[in-house]
């Protein structure tokens, strides 16, 4: 194992850290009540690629779309919950590169759209079934011409970009993105945006195990009325710049940004450079309206310094991003700043996972102890405009994440049975609750306290689940699938060999 692989390991750990924005507690509590859920176990029998929760047939109930490799499985929600076998399943066309769902006509029925090298196609819902004859909706060219052999991913290709209530099309291209507006159920002409992808090229070396690699990534545009003219604009963080493409009166975006600002001290890696242990690099800019005032705010997290800079948006447009208005400083290393309204007051709070400085000793410690310790620091937002966040966290807790290491051929793999989420509200009180693995077959729910009280040490309730210890990764989603105001739990089990992944849907029973 070389050093770069060890650094890759540290990066993988950070992905785990992202899920660690929850509060933990050690077992040894008085028996909390067990919540009753209606459970549907879905054996994927292969590689779980995506799980999507959407009302596909317009019956106001959220349905489930699961992709297994390149196969799509549709589960319609019924009054009794979800079936354990899909209502319909089929393999994507072999040319399909990426997919999304779209309500082209705005009638509540969602088509399954896929992108191929020569255009976009849909499978349409006819009655209770998708018609498996693809229909080309637009001839176009894209950067992503070749499909992935063993899987197909869902990307947010279809979204309402101009605020007319219809979903438009956003296509990645070599020099940026192309917008195709939805005009009465049909995609219109190509409108390019010059925002080239961030490209990382590695030519490899003269060894048999070496590869030529390219990685292209596109920033996710935020669609907001940035200039307050009543029309939705497109705003994109690109490297250390924020670029604004305002929508004109005719409903179009300009090809080049109308305004842009360079974000000072946003540290980027130079071409071909890999981060060293100092981690002198910033995470991609996050654009979000933190205080619900209608202006987009911005977060910039420097990993090695553990500093999050907050830029509050204002009527000054991009000029508001020239200088940060607030700072959050976590001692050590912080990879991410998570935004969530913990206390239900309409203002987004910050959860910052931090860990010790990463060095060789740190990595060796992780390898030997097979665990990572992180602190989840919670900063509740105040209504005080001058100082919305405190200098010190309102609440923090240490979490230990168990790790498993395994190698397959020439790869070194890391796994964890850790499960956590901080996005759910299980008791319908408007505050976010923490879902956290307390036993191999049990998830604890820690109800959020009133005010800025954080979370209790012991779980408020538990959910019994299938043993998670033999899986490489676990992920928990907490959507409200049955529209009862309480979060449901979708547990995704990722096996080591990716041959026996599974999904468990836990539907809440109202009134419990």
């Amino acid at each position: 194992m070389n050093l770069s692989r060890m650094k890759t390991l540290s990066f993988l750990l950070t992905l785990g850290v992202i899920w660690m924005t929850a509060q933990g507690s050690v077992p040894g509590y008085a028996s909390p009540p067990e919540l009753n859920f209606k459970v549907t176990n879905i054996e994927i029998g292969g590689k779980l690629t995506d799980a999507i929760y959407e009302d596909l047939n317009g019956d106001k109930k959220v349905d489930l779309l699961i992709t297994k490799g390149r196969e799509i499985q549709v589960f319609f929600q019924e009054a009794s919950g979800f079936p354990s076998k899909p209502n319909q399943r089929w393999k994507f066309d072999r040319r399909a590169v990426l997919f999304d769902t779209v309500d082209l006509k705005g009638d509540g029925k969602r088509q399954i759209l896929f992108l191929a090298k020569d255009g976009v196609y849909t499978y349409d819902l006819v009655g209770k079934q998708y018609r498996l004859i693809r229909k080309r909706r637009k001839k176009l060219e894209t950067l992503t011409r070749r499909p992935s052999k063993g899987e197909i991913r869902r990307k947010d290709l279809c979204r309402d970009l101009n605020g007319d209530g219809l979903e438009d099309l956003l296509i990645p291209e070599a020099t940026g993105m192309a917008v195709y507006f939805n005009v009465k159920g049909k995609f219109g002409k190509r409108r390019p945006l010059f925002v080239p992808p961030n490209a990382n090229v590695q030519p490899g070396n003269d060894q048999l195990s070496s590869r030529v690699t390219t990685v292209y990534w596109f920033s996710n545009p935020s669609i907001v009325d940035f200039n307050k003219d009543g029309r939705k604009d497109m705003i994109l963080p690109v490297d250390d710049m924020v670029k604004v493409f305002p929508q004109d009166k005719a409903g179009n975006f300009p090809e080049y940004p109308a305004s842009q600002v360079k974000i000072a001290d946003q540290k980027l890696l130079e071409a071909g450079e890999r981060p060293d242990f100092e981690l002198d690099v910033s995470m991609p800019l996050q654009l979000i309206d933190l205080n619900n005032d209608g202006y987009v705010d911005m977060l910039s997290t420097h990993v090695g310094q553990g500093v999050t800079r907050i830029f509050m948006g204002s009527k000054d447009g991009v000029s508001a991003f020239k200088k940060p208005t607030h700072f959050i400083r976590a001692k050590g290393v912080s990879f991410f700043t998570f935004t969530v309204d913990l206390d239900g007051d309409g203002l987004l709070d910050l959860v910052v996972p931090r860990t010790d400085k990463i060095g060789i000793w740190y990595l060796l410690k992780v390898l030997v102890t097979r665990s990572v310790k992180i602190d989840a620091l919670c900063y509740y937002q105040r209504k005080n405009v001058n100082k919305p966040f405190p200098d010190e966290p309102d609440f923090s807790n240490e979490i230990e994440i168990p790790l498993t290491f395994k190698s397959t051929g020439s790869k070194f793999n890391v796994g964890t049975s850790f499960v956590a989420s901080i996005s759910g509200d299980f008791n319908k009180d408007g505050r976010k609750d923490v879902l956290y693995r307390t036993e191999d077959d049990e998830l604890g729910i820690f109800y959020g306290r009133k005010g800025r009280g954080g979370f209790p040490e012991d779980p408020s309730a538990v959910i019994k689940v299938k043993d998670v210890s033999n899986y490489r990764f676990m992920m928990a989603d907490v959507p409200d699938l049955n529209a009862d105001g309480r979060s449901d739990v979708v547990l995704k089990y990722y096996s080591w060999d990716r041959k026996s992944d599974r999904v468990s849907v836990h539907l809440s029973k109202d009134g419990q």
Binding site: L15, T144, R146, S148, N205, V212, V215, A271, F277
Partner: protein
Amino acid sequence: MNADGLEDLVVAHIKGDNERGKDGRIKRFISVFLQRKNPKLRWISAPSYSTEVPSDAVLFVAGDFHPGLKGGEIALISYTGIKLLGGRNFIQEVDFETHVRGFFDFPADGGLFLWTLAPDLKSDGKKGILFPTKEGYLVYGPDPSKGLAYRGKIKIPSTERFGPDLETKFLNRFLTYFSRLPRVVALDMNNDKRVDLVTYRSKGLATFTQKDDGTFAEEPDTVTPLKVVKEAAKKSKGGDGKSDGFENVQLALKDLNKDGRIDIVATKTIGKIGVFESLRTQVLIFLATKNGIQSDKPNRIINLKGVTLFPEFTDFNGDDDIDIVLSSLRMDMLTNVKRAILKSVSTTYSIYLFTGGKKVYSEDPSFETDVDVDLELVEKQGRVRLSFFKGDVNGDGLKDMLTVSARTTLRVVPTVVKESFFGGKELKLDESEGGEVTVQTSPNLILKDIDKDGKDEIIFVYRKKLKSSGKAPKLDPRSIIRIVEEGQ
């Protein structure tokens, strides 16, 4: 580059303040630094020729491609084809230009990378180019009239994948698109004095043999299964996640005994990580015979404690044989505790001299040395390989040890042949003759005798702007190369 017998430098670079073009992209340049005969003015800091690189270029390589032109040319590889630059100032477009859709879709902003797949296909001193595509490589060989000519396509498909759904939530990405193409290694597999192309695929070692007319077939001519890889993959595949044993194998191809057949050196990391357990490495040497390679029966196994970096092959003692330099980093608990206390990393370097015969290399290392490096430096440089045994800086035919042991210090320790305590001769590092050069160091270091005086020069390549600190000489922050010659 100018056919005067002296090696020149061709450098891809950006300018000090990330000068940008109208499209907002960082401008990239290629500069040629010609070496002069006058030893006092051998290198001057300004390039002899410099040109801005077209916006579609992704890679470059310099060499003598065009048989009809004197001196060298620069090949620019873009996502739309290959372009040759040459002529009197090395920056004019010359005959050859081909338009084909390549593996790349867009260049990295501010990046222009060195492409090393430019083999001398016919062993005649002229280079060809392997052009990467999504389906494999297009092979171009030297052509007297056109510069380069198409010699065939070898099929090695790339693999694509896309980022998971989490990337939007946590990295604010619309999408990430990964594409990977296995590299090929260019070497003469069948001893016909023509370079063949080899890659590793799931079924084994795939060889595309160069035909008499210099062309290649699309499909490999031979595919040789390698048990050492298959068994490792089998042992570590599947399972329930409870087993954490390691079986990692990396391969190198080299004609170690110069019998005209390519041998295999496999580096296998095995063992477990734990308080009472450690990783260790086996270097397995498989010699090729007229019947091929028996990949389940190595001729030689060298066991190393800890994990090792990829072996270095070098003629260490100047006898024209290929010796092996192995480095190992201990991973056991005791060593880690020591590291934490002393805040240093110790890497053991072992040199095995070629002895020939079935065992190929000496039973024990011809010499071993531990190099302690400050943990902080390793973390800042981001690499463990900070000692080099590839350069002969004093011209005595023996490779010497160069250690980047601090940010501003390069330590040079010559290797000498001395009388052994038990009689006979042995190789030793002569610490008493060792010296230090105060220079801003970089782990990107090239050792090469570029002035042909029999002594290797040290070329530091600084990827980042240089910071002036400590005793280090203050350098122009735009300096990207520093050549250290004898006496400096």
